[in-house]
């Protein structure tokens, strides 16, 4: 079933995908920090307001993933920020998240050695987003 990009339904689907992933379960062992994704508004792409995705990840499990205001995501231990269209590129495999971070297309805030230690886990999380059938606002027909 298609879900609207970065909606509450998308967050539920994302959480399910993460918890289904045996690769994430292994790679995320020992992780105990919150991660916030800030999706910046792009009104010309029909994404009018910035949103925040707050991910409560613990030891290879997604305990909770919620969509709310960007300010909530900015309070997390690790924050990754990018405009809507960049996140869309990540979710559609047009942009590799690791490359995106090295190029500054995705801006990362948080302890770098920790996030680098969990590169495999973050790559698998990215893979999980690509498995969700998404209705993109800039592609909506009606």
């Amino acid at each position: 079933m298609m879900v609207k990009a970065f909606s509450a339904e998308w967050a539920d689907a994302f959480k399910d995908e993460v918890n289904k992933s045996t690769a994430y379960k292994a790679a995320g062992k020992g992780w105990k920090w919150t991660v916030g994704l800030v999706v910046e508004a792009e009104p010309d792409k029909h994404f009018a307001e910035s949103r925040g995705i707050v991910m409560d990840l613990f030891d290879g499990e997604a305990r909770d993933i919620k969509v709310g205001p960007a300010a909530d995501a900015q309070k997390c231990d690790f924050v990754i920020t990018a405009p809507y269209s960049r996140w869309k590129q990540v979710a559609t495999k047009e942009l590799d998240a690791t490359k995106g971070m090295l190029q500054g297309k995705l801006k990362l805030k948080g302890d770098l050695p920790t996030i680098v230690r969990y590169t495999k886990a973050s790559q698998e999380m990215t893979e999980c987003t690509t498995r969700i059938p998404v209705e993109w606002p800039d592609e909506a027909t009606s």
Binding site: T98, M101, L102, P113, V116, R117, T119
Partner: protein, 155 residues
């Protein structure tokens, strides 16, 4: 005599252990500089290498077409990060973004040597053998590469 003692004086540091040669460091330069600074600040075992290492190490990432030069200056621990590759490098590592991340995930074993027999290490060794990881200047500078790996490793 005066000239000699001047030479021994450390250059004034700007701030912290790492500074940037360019007014606008690239995202890659900021990330590597930030990674090394955080590593050295939080891990006492990395400080000895960092404080004594004198080497210019280039890292070129083929799939993003970007690179940096890490200019380790010794002098008690000081690194200048340049955008792109600058001349007179001791070592130059050329590989893809994923392998750069793998290099920073190499575990360090006994005698401070990187471990190449676990999953990450085998992956790095395979890239080296297949030519997907190239290290210019490796043979005369193996010890330098090991020191850089120890500083760079987050494991």
């Amino acid at each position: 005599m005066a000239r000699r003692s001047d030479k021994l004086k450390p250059e004034p540091k700007k701030e912290g252990l790492v500074d940037y040669a360019d007014d606008e460091p690239s995202a890659f330069a900021s990330m590597l500089g930030g990674l090394i600074e955080a590593n050295v600040e939080s891990r006492i075992e990395k400080r000895k290498d960092f404080s004594t290492l004198v080497a210019r190490v280039g890292i070129w990432v083929n799939d993003i077409d970007e690179g940096v030069t890490l200019d380790f200056k010794g002098r008690g621990g000081w690194l200048t990060v340049h955008n792109g590759l600058v001349p007179n490098r001791t070592l130059t590592i050329r590989t893809d973004a994923e392998t750069v991340m793998s290099l920073s995930n190499l575990k360090i074993g006994v005698f401070g040597l990187p471990i190449y027999y676990d999953e990450v290490g085998r992956g790095v060794a395979a890239k080296l053998l297949s030519g997907k990881l190239k290290i210019d200047g490796l043979l005369p500078n193996v010890m330098t590469l090991n020191a850089v790996t120890r500083i760079f490793s987050v494991q």
